[in-house]
Symmetry: C2
Subunit: 320 residues, 2 copies
DNA sequence: CTGAAAGCGCTTACAG
DNA sequence: CTGAAAGCGCTTACAG
C-alpha cells in the first residue's frame, strides 16, 4: 500500500488540508500540530506524490520550447540545459510542449516560448511577435526577455586566472561564426588582459568551429604555424577537448608546458578539464521565471547569470 | 483555455467516458461515434493530459534508472535514449526515479531497475540480485533481461552495402575497449565480408576510442601509414564524424574517393552522414516492457531490435 | 454501445 | 489555526 496524505492525516488526527499545509509550509499551522504531522510523515517515510501535486497545482500556462535545427540538439550543453528546463517545469508544475521547426500548424495553445540562439533567430522572433506570443531567449537579443550566462565576465575571469598563474603568451580559440556569446567571451578575455596593464603580453586569437574537431584543428594549426602559447583559452569546452587532443598528438605536456581552459562547465567531457562554468540550473530557473512573468505581467527583463571558474588538472602555473 | 476531455465531449455531444474510450481504443465504441470524436479531437488538436492520465491509470510500479558515471552521460546517444525512455514511461504511466551511484540509502521503493552498460556493471547487477530487484540492461549480459540493437546484423548490413557499392578495400574503425556491442558490430562486419565469397577483398581493422577525436586519429594515422581504403566503416557515428574530419584535412574527397559509414543513426551530427541506425524509441519501449514483465511475471527475456541503413551523402559508389 | 459517478493524491479558496 | 469541499484531467467499473 502506497501511503498517501490521507493516511498521514488519519494518523496525525488532522485533516488532509492541514497536512498539505505543513507539506507546503504555506499558511500558518499551529506549531504543535505541525510538529506532530511532521513526526508522522517522518515515521511513515512519506513523500508527497509529485504527479498528483502537479495535477492539482499547475499553472494554467503552457510554455513552448523551440529548439534550433541541426547538430547542436545533440550537443552536451543542450543536453544539460534541456534536462534542467524539464526539471524546472516539473517543479513549477508548468506544462510545456516542444515546438516543431514550423509552428504555423501547431494548434495547441502555448502562452510563451523559450528559445535558443540559432541561425534564423530573427525570423523566429518576428513570427512570435506577429502572433503576440511572449518570447524568452536563452542568449542575448535586444528588446525581448533574455537569460544568459555572464559571458563577458567569464572571459574576464579566464584572463585574470591565466595571468595570475603567470601566463604571458596566450592563444585564444574562438568561433568564426558571428555569435553573440562567442564575441562576449572574446571581448571579456581581451578586456581582462588589457586591464592587467602588463606590457609583456602576447595574445593571438584564431577562429574556427565550436566543436571538438574545431578546437583540434585550431590548436594543431596554430602550433604548426609556430605559435608557442603557454595558456590556451577556448570559447567552449568541446573546443578545449579538441585542443587537448591536438596537444597530446603534438607531444606537448598539459599543464606542464601549456595550460588549457574551457568554457561552459562540462567537466565530464574530459578528466580534469578546467572550465569557466555556467550555472545551468539557475539559467533554467530564470528562463521559466521570465516566461511566466512575461505572460502575467507582460514584462521584459534581461538577466545575466554569474559564472564560476572550475579549477582542474589542465590548468597550471606557466612554465618559466 | 486549455482544452480538455470535457471540451471534446461537449463538442462531440457525448460523455467524457466515451471520449476516453476512443482515446484508449479499449472497449467498443460505435464506429460512427468514434469517427466523430476523432474528428473533434483532431480539429481542436487535442492531446490528452499525460499527468492526469498517469494519476488515474498508473501502475503501482516504479522503475529506477541507474546511469553510469562519467562522460557518456553527455553523449549524443545517451541524450536520445534518455529522452525516449522518459517519454515511454510517461506514455505508459509508469513512475520512475533516477538512482544515484550508491543505491543503498535510497528509501523510495522501486520494483525494477533499468541500466546501461558501464564499467562496474557486474557489481551493479550483483547488488540488485542481492536485493532481489529485477534488472533490465540496455545492452547484452547473460542471465538477465536485456534489450539491444542488432549490432551483429548492423555490421553485416554495413558490409553488404559497402560491397554492393563496389568497395573492395575497407578500413574498419573500431574500439580498443572490450565492449560487447563494439565486438558484435565488428564480427558482423567481418562476417558480412566473408559471406560475399569475394577473393579480391582487403579489410583492415584499427582500434581506438569511440569519440570524434578517436575516429579522427584512427583515420589520419591509417592514411599516413599508407592505407588507401575506398570504404570506411566506423563503429560509432562520433567516430565517423572524426574520420570525415581527418579525410577533409587530408584533402580526400567524400564520397568520391572514400565512402564513410557510421553506426547509431545520429545523422544530425554531420550533414549527410550515412549510418546504420538504431531504433531508439523501440529500444526504450522494449526496455520498459521487459521491466514490467520482469516485475509481474518474473520473466527474463533478451530482445534484439532491428537496425536500418540510412543512406547519406557520405556513402557512394567505389571509385574505379 | 454509452452515461453518470467515483476515484487517482494532492491543493486551495471558503468558512468558521 | 483548521476542516469540509471542490477541483485538477483523466479512467473505469457499474448500470442500463
Amino acid at each position: 500500500m502506497k501511503i498517501t496524505i490521507g493516511e498521514i492525516a488519519r494518523q496525525a488526527a488532522v485533516s488532509k488540508g492541514t497536512v498539505s499545509r505543513v507539506i507546503n509550509g504555506k499558511s500558518t499551522v499551529a506549531e504543535k500540530t505541525r510538529l506532530n504531522v511532521l513526526e508522522v510523515m517522518k515515521r511513515l517515510d512519506y513523500v508527497p506524490d509529485p504527479v498528483a501535486r502537479e495535477l492539482s497545482m499547475r499553472s494554467k500556462h503552457t510554455l513552448g520550447i523551440w529548439v534550433g535545427a541541426g547538430a547542436n540538439r545533440l550537443s552536451p550543453y543542450f543536453n544539460l540545459i534541456w534536462r534542467a528546463l524539464l526539471q524546472e517545469m516539473q517543479m513549477r508544475a508548468t506544462q510545456f510542449i516542444e515546438l516543431p521547426l514550423d509552428i504555423t500548424p501547431v494548434r495547441r495553445r502555448f502562452d510563451a516560448v523559450l528559445l535558443f540562439h540559432c541561425a534564423d533567430i530573427d525570423n523566429r522572433l518576428a513570427a512570435l511577435a506577429d502572433r503576440h506570443i511572449p518570447a524568452v531567449l536563452i542568449g542575448h537579443y535586444p528588446g525581448i526577455s533574455c537569460v544568459a550566462p555572464d559571458d563577458l565576465g567569464g572571459g574576464h575571469l579566464a584572463a585574470e586566472r591565466m595571468l595570475a598563474l603567470g601566463h604571458r603568451r596566450m592563444l585564444h580559440l574562438s568561433l568564426a561564426d558571428d555569435l553573440q556569446w562567442a564575441k562576449e567571451r572574446a571581448n571579456g578575455f581581451e578586456a581582462g588582459l588589457s586591464a592587467s596593464g602588463l606590457k609583456n603580453l602576447e595574445s593571438t586569437t584564431v577562429l574556427g568551429e565550436g566543436s571538438v574537431l574545431g578546437g583540434y584543428r585550431l590548436m594543431r594549426d596554430a602550433w604548426n604555424l609556430g605559435q608557442r602559447p603557454t595558456g590556451v583559452f577556448c570559447a567552449t569546452d568541446e573546443m578545449a577537448v579538441g585542443a587537448l587532443g591536438a596537444l597530446a598528438d603534438l607531444g606537448v605536456a598539459v599543464p606542464r608546458d601549456v595550460s588549457v581552459l574551457g568554457f561552459d562547465g562540462l567537466t565530464e567531457l574530459h578528466p580534469g578539464l578546467a572550465s569557466v562554468a555556467q550555472d545551468i540550473p539557475a539559467i533554467a530557473h530564470m528562463a521559466v521565471s521570465l516566461a511566466l512573468a512575461a505572460i502575467e505581467k507582460n514584462s521584459v527583463r534581461q538577466k545575466v547569470v554569474p559564472v564560476t571558474l572550475i579549477e582542474g588538472t589542465t590548468l597550471g602555473q606557466a612554465p618559466r
